[in-house]
C-alpha cells in the first residue's frame, strides 16, 4: 500500500449552493500506482471533474472538501497549507484542461506560459527556462519559431499540445487530464491521445484521464474508474472491464456505444435521467434506472465489494 502514488479514502466534496448541498463526490476511494493510467469515466455531473480538481485542491467555491484523505506519495494533501499545496501544483501534480481555447492567457505568448510555469518552481535563469520551454514545445510537436506566438494564432489541437507541454513542464508524477480531447474533433482527438500516450511512456508519470467518452479509454488506460452520481461504482483494470463490466451501469454504458457492424440494431440508451445530487435516491443511486434493481437496492446503499483480483464494484449482485 505504501508504494501507491495516490490513495484517496472516503473523499467527500460538497457544493453549498442556494438550493441545497450538492454531494458532487460522495465517499470515494481510489488508489493508483506509480506510472499507472486511470480512466475516470462518468456522465456529466457525476462528479468526475470535481474529483480531479479536489486532488489539486482547486475545487471552485462554493465547493469544499468535507472529509476524507488524499494521500499523494505519503503526503496527505488535504492537510497541507496553501503554500505547500502551491509548490505541488504543476511541479508534482499537474493538470491538462478541457478547453484549450480558454485555458491559455490570451495576452501571454505561448513560450512565456511555459517559462512562467518553469520559473514558478525552479530557480533557473530566463535563458535556461526558455531553452527548456523550446525543447518541451518541440516534444509536443510545435516548432520553436512559434515560441513568440500568442494563443489566438493556434488551432484548438495545437493549443491542447501547448496545454500538454505545460502540464509536463516540470516532469510531474501525476497528470490529471480533465476531458483533454472533448472540445476537439475526432481526428485531432486521436492525435492528442497518441501524443499523451507517447509522452506518458517517455516520462513515466501517472495519469488520471477524466472523460465522458468511454470509447477513448481502451487504448490508453490501464484501469477504469466508473463514477455515477458522485460515487465510484466500479473500479477495475481496463481489459476485464471492457470484457465484462460488473456494475449494471457499466454494462448499460458499454451497450450504448454504437456499433457500425450491426447497423440494423437499434441504438441503446439508459432510460431515465441522472439523479439529482441534492436529493439522491435512497439506496443504490442507480436503482431507479437499473433493470436488475430489487427492493433491497431501493432501500439500502450497497457496499463496495472486492471481486476477483483488485476489482471493486458497488452492487448487491456480487
Amino acid at each position: 500500500m505504501i508504494s501507491d502514488l495516490l490513495r484517496i479514502e472516503g473523499l467527500r466534496v460538497y457544493y453549498y449552493t442556494r438550493d441545497g448541498v450538492v454531494m458532487a463526490v460522495d465517499n470515494v476511494d481510489l488508489f493508483m500506482k506509480k506510472g499507472e493510467t486511470i480512466g475516470l469515466v462518468g456522465e456529466s455531473g457525476s462528479g468526475k471533474s470535481t474529483l480531479g480538481r479536489a486532488i489539486l485542491r482547486l475545487v471552485p467555491p462554493p465547493g469544499r472538501i468535507i472529509s476524507g484523505k488524499i494521500v499523494f506519495d505519503g503526503l496527505n494533501l488535504t492537510e497541507l497549507s496553501e503554500e505547500e499545496m502551491r509548490k505541488i501544483r504543476g511541479k508534482r501534480i499537474s493538470m491538462v484542461f478541457q478547453d484549450p481555447m480558454t485555458s491559455l492567457d490570451p495576452l501571454m505568448k505561448i513560450g512565456d506560459h511555459i517559462v512562467e510555469t518553469i520559473m514558478a518552481h525552479e530557480t533557473l535563469t530566463r535563458e535556461e527556462a526558455e531553452e527548456k520551454a523550446i525543447k518541451l514545445l518541440e516534444q509536443v510537436g510545435i516548432r520553436s519559431e512559434r515560441f513568440m506566438d500568442y494563443p489566438h494564432q493556434f488551432s484548438g489541437g495545437m493549443r491542447q499540445r501547448v496545454g500538454i507541454a505545460l502540464a509536463l513542464a516540470l516532469n510531474p508524477d501525476l497528470v490529471i487530464a480533465d476531458e483533454p480531447t472533448s472540445s476537439l474533433d475526432v481526428i485531432v482527438q486521436f492525435q492528442i491521445l497518441d501524443l499523451m500516450k507517447e509522452l506518458k511512456n517517455l516520462y513515466g508519470m501517472g495519469m488520471i484521464l477524466i472523460t465522458h467518452d468511454i470509447s477513448i479509454i481502451p487504448g490508453i488506460a490501464d484501469k477504469v474508474a466508473l463514477m455515477y452520481a458522485g460515487q465510484l461504482v466500479e473500479f477495475a483494470d481496463a481489459k476485464s472491464f471492457f470484457n465484462e463490466p460488473l456494475h449494471p451501469y457499466g454494462k448499460a454504458l458499454l451497450e450504448s456505444i454504437p456499433n457500425i457492424q450491426h447497423s440494423d440494431q437499434k441504438l441503446k440508451y439508459i432510460p431515465g435521467n441522472p439523479p439529482d445530487l441534492i436529493n439522491p435516491p435512497k439506496g443504490c443511486r442507480f436503482s431507479p434506472r437499473c433493470p436488475y434493481a430489487t427492493e433491497k437496492c431501493r432501500e439500502e446503499e450497497p457496499p463496495t465489494i472486492m471481486v476477483g483480483h483488485h476489482r471493486l464494484v458497488k452492487c448487491f449482485q456480487y
Binding site: K87, D105, P106
Partner: protein, 292 residues
C-alpha cells in the same frame, strides 16, 4: 478585444483612426490635435510667451486686444496671452500628475482587492464607494481646504477624487477574470499570487484603462479650474486659467470681456479635447458601442 495583442492593438487602432472611420475617427483626431497643441504650448511656454506672465504693467490696465497684446491685458496690466500659455503648463502638470497617481493607486488597489477578496476586499470597497458617493467637486473642495494651496495639494485632492473610479472598474474586471479558466490553469501550474495578479490578470485589464484616463483628464481640467475659481487651488504667483477666469469675471459688468473670456475658452477647449479623444477611443475600442 481580449484576443488582441498589444502591438496588434496599436496597429489596428491606428488603422481605425483613419478619416474613413467617420465620426469616431474624427473625434480622436480633433481631440488629439487640441490636446497636443496645449502640450506643445506647455512645453515651450518660455519661448512662446511674449511676456513674463506675472509681470504687472507690461501694458496699460485692461488694454483691449491689439497687435501688441493679442488677448489684451488684465487689471494689473499683465499680458493675458502669456498667462494663458503659462497657465496651460500648470493645468497639464496637475492633470497628468493626478491622472498618473490616481490610476496607479486605483489600478493596483483594484487588482489586489479583487484578487484577494474576503474581508479586505469588502472593507476597501466600502471605503472606495463612500469616496465615490461624494460629488467629485465637493470632495475636491473639502480636500483642497484641508490640504491648502499649491500644486501638490491640488494634485493630491484630485487624485483622491479619481482613485475610486479606477478601483471600481479594475476590481470588477478582476472579479470576472478570476473565474476564467486561464487563471485557474495558472493556479494549477502553481503560479504564485503575485505572478497571477501582475503577469496573468493585469495585462488583460489594461485595455479598459486609457478610455477612463482621457475622460477623467477632461473632468480633472474642469475640477482644477473650479478649485482655482473658488480661490482654493493655486497660490497667486502660479498662472492658472481658473483663477484668471475668476478675476476677469469681475470685470464683465464693465463690458471688459477679454480677461475672462480667453481663460474660459481655454478651459472649454482643453476639456473638449480630452473628451473628444476619450469618446472616440471608447467608440473604437468598445465594439458594443460602435455601430450605434
Amino acid at each position: 478585444m481580449a484576443n488582441l495583442t498589444a502591438p496588434k492593438m496599436i496597429t489596428s487602432m491606428l488603422s481605425k483612426i483613419s478619416p474613413r472611420r467617420g465620426v469616431e475617427g474624427l473625434f480622436i483626431i480633433v481631440g488629439l490635435v487640441i490636446v497636443l497643441t496645449f502640450i506643445f504650448m506647455a512645453i515651450f511656454a518660455p519661448v512662446l510667451a511674449p511676456y513674463d506672465p506675472n509681470k504687472t504693467r507690461v501694458g496699460g490696465l485692461y488694454e483691449s486686444p491689439n497687435s501688441k497684446f493679442p488677448m489684451g491685458t488684465d487689471r494689473l496690466g499683465r499680458d493675458i496671452l502669456s498667462r494663458i500659455i503659462w497657465g496651460s503648463r500648470t493645468v497639464l502638470i496637475v492633470t497628468f500628475l493626478s491622472m498618473a497617481l490616481s490610476s496607479a493607486c486605483g489600478v493596483t488597489l483594484g487588482l489586489i482587492s479583487g484578487y484577494v477578496g474576503g474581508k479586505f476586499d469588502t472593507a476597501l470597497s466600502l471605503f472606495m464607494d463612500s469616496l465615490y458617493a461624494f460629488p467629485g467637486l465637493i470632495l475636491a473642495i473639502a480636500l483642497a481646504v484641508m490640504l491648502g494651496q499649491g500644486i501638490m495639494p491640488v494634485t493630491v485632492s484630485l487624485t483622491v477624487v479619481y482613485v475610486p473610479i479606477y478601483f471600481r472598474m479594475i476590481r470588477g474586471e478582476v472579479l470576472s477574470m478570476k473565474e476564467s479558466l486561464f487563471v485557474e490553469a495558472a493556479k494549477a501550474i502553481g503560479a504564485k499570487g503575485r505572478t497571477l495578479i501582475f503577469k496573468y490578470i493585469f495585462p488583460n485589464v489594461i485595455p479598459s484603462i486609457p478610455i477612463v484616463l482621457s475622460l477623467n483628464a477632461a473632468d480633472a481640467v474642469l475640477t482644477l479650474a473650479a478649485l482655482s475659481f473658488l480661490g482654493l487651488g493655486l497660490p497667486a504667483h502660479i498662472p492658472d486659467w481658473g483663477f484668471d477666469l475668476r478675476m476677469g469675471y469681475g470685470a464683465l459688468t464693465a463690458k471688459i470681456w477679454w480677461p475672462g473670456t480667453f481663460p474660459g475658452l481655454m478651459i472649454v477647449l482643453l476639456t473638449l479635447g480630452f473628451s473628444l479623444f476619450g469618446e472616440g477611443l471608447a467608440e473604437i475600442l468598445n465594439p458594443k458601442l460602435s455601430g450605434r
